[in-house]
Subunit: 255 residues, 4 copies
Amino acid sequence: MDELEIDAVAEVELDDPVLVEGLPGVGHVGSLAVEHLLEELEGESTLVRRVYSREFPPQVSVEDGVSKLTCAELHAVSVPDGRDLLLLSGDHQAQTNNGHYVLTDAFLDIAEAFGANEVYALGGVPTGELIDEYAVVGAVSDESLVEGLEDAGVEFREDEPAGGIVGVSGLMLGLGERRGFDAACLMGETSGYLVDPKSARAVLEVLETMLGFELDYETLDERADEMEDVIGKIQEMEQQQQMDVPTDDDLRYIG
Amino acid sequence: MDELEIDAVAEVELDDPVLVEGLPGVGHVGSLAVEHLLEELEGESTLVRRVYSREFPPQVSVEDGVSKLTCAELHAVSVPDGRDLLLLSGDHQAQTNNGHYVLTDAFLDIAEAFGANEVYALGGVPTGELIDEYAVVGAVSDESLVEGLEDAGVEFREDEPAGGIVGVSGLMLGLGERRGFDAACLMGETSGYLVDPKSARAVLEVLETMLGFELDYETLDERADEMEDVIGKIQEMEQQQQMDVPTDDDLRYIG
Amino acid sequence: MDELEIDAVAEVELDDPVLVEGLPGVGHVGSLAVEHLLEELEGESTLVRRVYSREFPPQVSVEDGVSKLTCAELHAVSVPDGRDLLLLSGDHQAQTNNGHYVLTDAFLDIAEAFGANEVYALGGVPTGELIDEYAVVGAVSDESLVEGLEDAGVEFREDEPAGGIVGVSGLMLGLGERRGFDAACLMGETSGYLVDPKSARAVLEVLETMLGFELDYETLDERADEMEDVIGKIQEMEQQQQMDVPTDDDLRYIG
Amino acid sequence: MDELEIDAVAEVELDDPVLVEGLPGVGHVGSLAVEHLLEELEGESTLVRRVYSREFPPQVSVEDGVSKLTCAELHAVSVPDGRDLLLLSGDHQAQTNNGHYVLTDAFLDIAEAFGANEVYALGGVPTGELIDEYAVVGAVSDESLVEGLEDAGVEFREDEPAGGIVGVSGLMLGLGERRGFDAACLMGETSGYLVDPKSARAVLEVLETMLGFELDYETLDERADEMEDVIGKIQEMEQQQQMDVPTDDDLRYIG
């Protein structure tokens, strides 16, 4: 295994496509969003590239007993009445700082090869608590991109994201800018505790406006309802615990 | 020391051999199994390769005062009435993600050089508790391999192994598949707390069926009996502790 | 992204300049000091180099919604009636041992290219408690540099800094010496708990003496007053807590 | 700074010298021993090599205000009536697994260049408690070396060192053996809690027998007496604490 091995699985002609990155991160917002895009646009999408790397964790996932080596995948999508897309998904991010740089450059290389010069990095920004409203916070590689995104409902906040943006999403902006891409990071607010389908939906609604396609959200909403059941049950259990008489038992939870 | 140094200790002609990997892991199931194979098949086996690497921990083991640098060893085994074997053993796995990829590729290189294109990676899957029945859970690089293993008693479970397979065993499947090997990972159920000879036996019994040799299990069973004595004593001690009047002494066990 | 990418933003002729390093460290003394220099000498300073590296954390900072990839910056400053300066600033240090060596060599390469052969590395030495007097402790690459700095008020103490000097500041001395630089590290005493503008001022006063420029300290003193308000409030809160009746509540602060 | 930079400080002709390694480790036994050798044999010893590396921690030590970049040093010693020596000392070991391999190979390269093919790696083996008798435990690269060392009082114990020997000392045996060196590791028993001059003395007495020189131990014994005062005081303090009535105060010591 080299530092990078890129399998060309298929070739597809795309017209001025947009790279959309949905690797795992806070609340799994980005990966849920791209997963949903792949489901909804299945008829128009083709797996074109698999990226393997020594910078990915050395492991396989197993489904129905069959193994699959850690990789990232790119699907080419010809959307009727919308922008062509290059969808980036995967189960893991790089495991070292060096790895983040190497892999992001590889993804941008592939995007360039398909004629892309625009990137949307999708992720979550944790609020630290459960929320009802799902704003989408934005960051861009160049000021000229702010207005169009604000018109689509993205919020640009003065103090957010505090601490910047780390990992592939941040480097899509940082390296993308150096390589001539217009890059934007869309971060759906999320509690961060769980997989968050409502946050993913909020982000996808921005993309619909920016990129011209239309999505059905039924399956995402179903997942959201399941989530709410789970949250409800967790909250019940926590209240149950708080009603117990406080004892030295509490001390057993130290550490 | 280069990234890899492979000592050719001896040359042996093998006929369509099978690589069997038994590096340390959960419950030491794989390494116990290969150790037992090496003991039982001592007459037919020859040490052919030692693999040294900067990716192994920088240390020596000491036996009877004499040092031995960390390495992996490959033994060629011509089994009467069974498939030829290439047995991979060692005291340590690689210490970095990069190391796992580098070393697994090296082991597969050696296997190819000996004409092998089949791999069995042996390991354990932890149950989290002591058990009586020892199933062997399987994962394969290609669906076509499932049936033969199911016939040999291997179980393919929908949700296992959760989290996939990490390290050399996982990469034997992942890299093996990319390099044209038929690869299977056999994981004996084990409590994971101890070295588990019964789990190793369960895995070896599958190999007997698949590869045609017959093994005696007396020494492994002896180790299993020793283990049960140890477990029995630990359980007694734990019950002893629980019968004491609970006091602030408990707090001393906070880690 | 290569191991190092150096953007030449502008070219400026400097006469025997001095490299002044102010990357983040203890109490942010060095970075505050260089920040202040950049503010006060804005009219005479030009951004000349940006240094990007895989050794920097893979992230972008975000200001007003616009991203900026992690980098270090060098400003050339032609000071009227003082030594020319090359000011090194940035938001992050390298993240690995290898990275510290690589980046310090890169900074010294740039310094050499501008004709510099003197370095001041600015930092803090933690006292472990809040202080009233702000001494500046020194370390130099060669004994011949001690006297001049002592005359400027720098203290050379027998047991300090205990444990030496780690990171870029230490390597400015260590690698600087090997490469023919006269290097000095000026460390303002600081509690280490906070950003410390008084410590930064103490260090800058030494530089004024050594390098011939004059600075206004109004903005730094304002930050110092803000700091004192914050410290005052923290101290109040702590006294408040100590007056409470001691209970098992104390145990909640363990760990 | 390259991966390795070796400064040739002086050249000295040695006759079949022995490399003696005393880098920091358990109880600082090895480094104390080599320090003592350097003091006692000062008249006959010359600093010949300094080894710098990116694998050393990126820091300088500071003495009397003057910095010194992390390095290892080799001194050539022509001992009257004894074997010629190459003494290896330093303040730090490598910080990564790769670094241990790289640096040990560099030290063996230098030893070869001086005509050496014998190595003594000096260290400590922790007993876990304070002791009165100071045995020296041994490990060798080849069985043929056992007898000579046993005659000099070294003990070869069946179960020790458990876990083998890690770091430069272990690799002196492991890599030394592969490169044609006769290598021995002498480990003085030590509590491991402190710097242990008595353990260092025990190891040096073995070297005196093997290598033909004679040492005065006055300064080491003085350090040993100082150590005993310190230990005495620590023991008093601990007894003082145990005599207090046990209260919830104990909980404050939970780490």
